[in-house]
């Protein structure tokens, strides 16, 4: 099977953010993460492109992303004091959206740092 090779991939498992990882991947999973440490290997090899989980859940029942976004927005909109929390295992681009979300909502905003 044809393997896709990605040089200089970046590992986001820990704060070191190594950016010299070589990944060998097929369509659904990463088979090799060269130069990665034990933690990094586990990080890359444990994620797949499979559809392991439902797209979304509302009250524990499967839902579409559109429905879930609508429901999430409504909860956030109705709240008197919403909280936006986390932002560790995600990209800066998503974090910027989160800060915008908190600003627009008048929410509390906090990251892992405060723990």
């Amino acid at each position: 099977m044809e393997m896709k090779v990605i040089d200089h991939a970046t590992c986001t498992f820990c704060g070191c953010v190594c950016d010299d990882i070589q990944l060998h991947a097929d369509e659904t999973r990463i088979h090799q993460a060269k130069k990665a440490c034990v933690l990094g290997k586990a990080w890359f090899l444990n994620h797949t492109a499979e559809r392991k989980y439902p797209d979304a859940l509302i009250d524990g029942k499967e839902a579409t992303v559109d429905e879930a976004i609508e429901a999430a927005s409504e909860y956030l909109y109705q709240a008197d004091m919403p909280l936006v929390y986390g932002m560790s295992n995600t990209t800066c681009e998503a974090q910027r959206q989160c800060v915008a979300l908190a600003d627009n909502l008048g929410a509390l905003l906090d990251s892992h740092t405060s723990l």
């Binding site: 976004i69 004091m81 919403p82 959206q97 627009n104 008048g106 740092t113 405060s114």
Partner: protein
Amino acid sequence: MVLVDIRETKSVKAADIFLQVRPGKDFELITILRAMIKDQPISETQIAETGLTMEQLQDFVSRMKAARFGVMFFGMGLSMTRGKHMNSAALLTLAAEMNAFTKFVAMPMRGHGNVTGADVIMRSQTGYPFGISFNRGYPRYNPGEFSTVDVLVRGDTDCAFIIGADPGATMPQPAIDHLARIPTIVLDPHVTHTSRLSRVHITTAPAGISAPGTAYRMDEIPLPLHPALESPYPSDEEVVRRINETLMKKPDWMGERPQILQTQI
């Protein structure tokens, strides 16, 4: 390399000197060092409570002063034990004070992937690194008041949006209980502990595996991500952006307020 820890860890092998400090005495040890670099008298008995000796610390201080460029790395063993932020503050102050003698910096060894990125972005957009409230229409900062564990334990919030974290697995039980009580929304590549107590869960593509973007290294160097896989799920960025767009279509929640506030609350 000097390693300070409460027990002999694997890193000891890599260290030239290992100083075994008594548990819970980090703050005392660093405070003693602050005094010693300034040649303040400290007695052998006073040092003894840290589990170290005068000789060890004198040697340590002279090594620090002789260094051309010193770096202090510190981890959660320091910042998450009794004293918390004051332990980190102690080390940062020591590093700052060492600059009277030579170049020294201190750097937190951050875990949790891109927590540095969150810190950087919050600082640039709001002026504060974490523990922020926008409820008055502009950012206010007060760790302890606006930090999540405190907020949840006190029950100060009535809706939680959780992304890239699993507080349902890591936070104290009263905080988790409150998350279960209020509408909680989770974005995560997995169905997590928090997802299970949430009202809404949305599965997203994992950052750096199948979602592109940027992550900050702990020394605040931003690095591009090169995803190897194509996810069947949308990225966090896309989902949050769509939530923002949906909210923007609803009537503004904010009542009459001035554009600029000269005196803050």
